[in-house]
Symmetry: D2
Subunit: 322 residues, 4 copies
């Protein structure tokens, strides 16, 4: 019998996204994406999709540049948080405990091998809608806004990393994430990975950064209910002058129906839909994609756009990619 | 700190459904529902949706009557299976070990307080498609059949039970299922419960059997990708002379977009879609619906059809319901 | 060879709807339905869907009661308008010429046998969007609002009438509308009719008024792009406390995917979708539905709700229906 | 007052498509597209979508090469057919009368300036479904097949032509088609046109043939009910190894949601959806697209694929395109 899996991470909790154009980014997330403001601090705005059960899933922070502030995962129990902290202590990846932030309690901070700031917490504040945002059905977190793209909930995020394998082992060993799909190049090196702690087929993905820069951000994704919603989102982005990078189309990898845009701060944002697809098998066998398979492009033949491999935030001065 | 949750059940594995009209039922599941035959035994046919990762999720068995043969849940690990067996041993609910069936290994059998046969197993056979059923994308279990309703995967099932509370406590304490929603009547008695072991908002539901008969079956549900697929299914059922009991409409409880039909053997079958809705919170607070709320009908106002409260399988000679 | 068809009416142009709750009705059409204000007069608000090419398709007028002010059809040419006026002159149905109204030129007014005011015009003002409503694609009348239900364009309306046959003959003979479907009762009397001047399967329908009152209004319908949009509309009506009378479901007659609500003034409003269905045959053979067929209910089995036969505007004091 | 429009053409009736791989093409249209065989002659198979009211809309003919056999339009009345024949007689475009073909009566044949064979007819055979293809709802031509892509009805076709302006004037003056959109290059020459005789925004389109070859074929399009159906079609084409040239995506011109594939004989086939979009205005003002606008690509930014400008049938030995 093999060792039993670590089940301590419950799900992706929130991201802090940095933007050099704070007001425009805030307008994008509220009026185009249809998100709701649920908190404000000095330089930050806290935002949520209408089905996010926690107070917020996006912390938007004014900054000199774009990119990721930090990413936070909620643990399954207080004990699970302590176990992960204990495992990380002295590993060289650990940063230490903080008191938390608006909406969540004590937090253990670490850095993945690429340097992305990763926070773990258990205590959280459930969203309590004010009267004008109370939903008609009480099993729903918030009233459907019927404004803009109406994103439902945080789905996953994608980081760039220099060493995919090192990151994979970090998330497997210290946090118990399971690999569901990956790209392995002809030379045996790993070029991308999709990992999950839930029944979603991924809670995050890491892709190799061709610039060799550590800790960058590729995109954050909010879920919509249907592919039709993603198509409508494309119409709405078009009407609002939002730059559409690629899509809507279906990824071969993970079969996600995707649409990528850039928010005014330069960060890539995705709206996507996975249909009824779930990973239910507790012993899922990771799907390995080869260079040749990846060269085929997306599911229905769309070639992967060049900028998808090069555009990350914060921007890098100069780089050779290939 | 509270006790940590039991995480030993991975997901609903399959159901055995009894039918007194075997050939017609088989034709319904294959040609109308669009399922694939993946095994045959003396009196049974094994069937699957195109996205089910295991060899089958439905065992259809010729019988004198309709109803449930048994339901099977897969555990998260071999150790988890042993732990659940150990917990059940001597509880009065345990039946004992078997060698398993086509497609899965050793199995621990028990009976819930209502007498439904519940099987637990870990070792399973992953579906291996023959050449003409190989999918174009290798992260998919089987080629999309493009026939009939094209059901994707087993989603949940619904049992009838005389004592809901006793069953809830059984599934919570012995198997670690979590309650997500329930109906509690004015007299404080529980009338229905929805429980999950995954991020789906329910893997099964139990509803009070107004006839006072134990162990009956209400329906089995297969998932479709979108509400549009459910609407199209209604068209296909209509064209095939399948009796549509109610729907498509949206449940207030769980917000599932539902459509109920009767298969030729008399068992109720549902096709449904939950959109992007998932229960991610590890500490989800169960939603309690009152009699008054339930009387409002479904989400958009459809009154719950009377037969929904009375039709179960196998049929009961006579009953007073209300 | 039979006589050639009259081709003089181009399409349904607009409706004037009366409301005793003007402010609430205006809020409903603008903020819930997602329509745009495109004109204002003393007691009237002019409203449009984002794909309506004329300046408006709904004139909402404050009144002591609810119901229809008038309905207007645009002719295919100036000559066609003159021909219809000439045909009606002296028929007993003619009222006479007016100078028109905001947005359209000279108008010939008549009354159908039931007394509904019917206006015919050719000269019209095309909608010219202000800068903030300019669409991204220049083959679209107005920017997609991304607010509320986002109705696309006026589709059809439904009147109540005491004598269906007399009205059918009026619209066939004087205006050249073609009958596409009808209900004929066992006694041979006509109970409902669907007529068109376009490739849509109906531009209007008339249903027998069981109260015996003349000239009443049953509903006005705005088109949405997909059945998914109609389902989403149901969610939005629910969230806004709008009374949903029946649907979403599919009509057997005309196969429209429907959803009926009451606007605050009491008038019934429908949002609907016909998919890709068009009547292309110039010699379409009307579909005749019998009492027995009608008793089956809607396409997927939903029983027709009682109020659908009784609720019309303006309300009638007392009535016997059957 | 301007002259009144010619209203003599009712709609696109059918196409004859030539294929050098008859058996494979037949299999594609029946099993992948989900069409129904409704007739057979020596070298031809007659095919239909489930909502086509006439006996067939596609005549597939074995040939040495691919391309268009002929295209047929149905007139609005017998008189309309005579009027169009009279107008064409002696024009140099007329070929003469024939007795018709399977499913339709006497036919007037002409050739457009580019040499495409164009047939006009009025008498037609309505499809009479055999018992196993009778629909559940009697206002539907045929039972929904629930097989493959399930195309609904013929929507439009696209020809290649050397001189767009000459063809536009031919279809306007002799047949009364109306121009709804066009591409006009910087030098003032016309590069593409979309024309209609119905409320659809186009019944056919002609695009400039860069090889300078006359009479070639670009694609034929069948309508689906929703964008979701088009996406599902992409999945089905992928599973069946059908070459997907481009899409699904939304055209800027006409806003059609498109998906292009090649059938085994080499002809391009489209499945598409126009939502609720109709051209209702009898005096629609043609939308003129410039070179600069066309260079922007499709609605959501997809670049127009090179082969879309070069691939036509039958193939041309050598060509310079640009």
């Amino acid at each position: 019998m093999t060792t039993e899996p670590i089940m301590d991470i419950a799900h992706l909790g929130h991201l802090e996204l940095l933007t050099p154009r704070f007001a425009e980014s805030a307008n994008f997330f509220i009026n185009v994406m249809g998100m709701t403001e649920s908190g404000r601090a000095r330089d930050s705005l806290y935002l949520r999709g209408w089905d996010d059960y926690e107070r917020y899933t996006l912390k938007l922070t004014a900054s000199k540049t774009s990119g990721l502030g930090h990413v936070a995962y909620r643990t399954r129990s207080p004990q699970a948080l302590e176990r992960r902290a204990a495992a990380l202590k002295g590993s060289g990846f650990d940063v230490g405990w903080t008191d938390g932030d608006l909406g969540h309690g004590k937090t253990f901070v670490c850095r993945d091998p690429d340097g992305h700031a990763v926070e773990l917490y258990y205590e959280t504040e459930w969203y309590a809608p004010p009267p004008d945002k109370k939903p008609a059905l009480k099993n729903q977190a918030q009233r459907y806004p019927a404004r803009g793209v109406n994103v439902r909930r945080l789905d996953h995020w994608n980081g760039l990393a220099v060493d995919i394998k090192a990151n994979r082992e970090f998330f497997e060993n210290f946090l118990g994430f399971r690999l569901t799909e990956q790209i392995v190049l002809n030379d045996g090196s790993e070029a991308a990975m999709w990992m999950t702690a839930t029944n979603k087929s991924y809670d995050f993905a890491y892709t190799r950064d061709h610039t060799g820069t550590k800790g960058r951000f590729h995109h954050v994704t909010y879920a919509l209910d249907s592919r039709e919603d993603v198509l409508r989102a494309a119409d709405i982005f078009l009407e609002n002058g939002v730059f559409i990078e690629t899509g809507p189309h279906k990824h071969a990898i993970q079969q996600t129906f995707f649409l990528y845009v850039y928010e005014p701060g330069g960060n890539r944002v995705e709206v996507a839909n996975a249909g009824a697809r779930l990973i239910l098998a507790p012993d899922w066998k990771p799907i390995r994609w080869t260079e040749a398979e990846r060269a085929k492009g997306q599911a229905w033949g769309l070639k992967t756009i060049e900028s998808f491999h090069t555009h990350g935030t914060p921007p890098v001065e100069k780089h050779g990619h290939g």
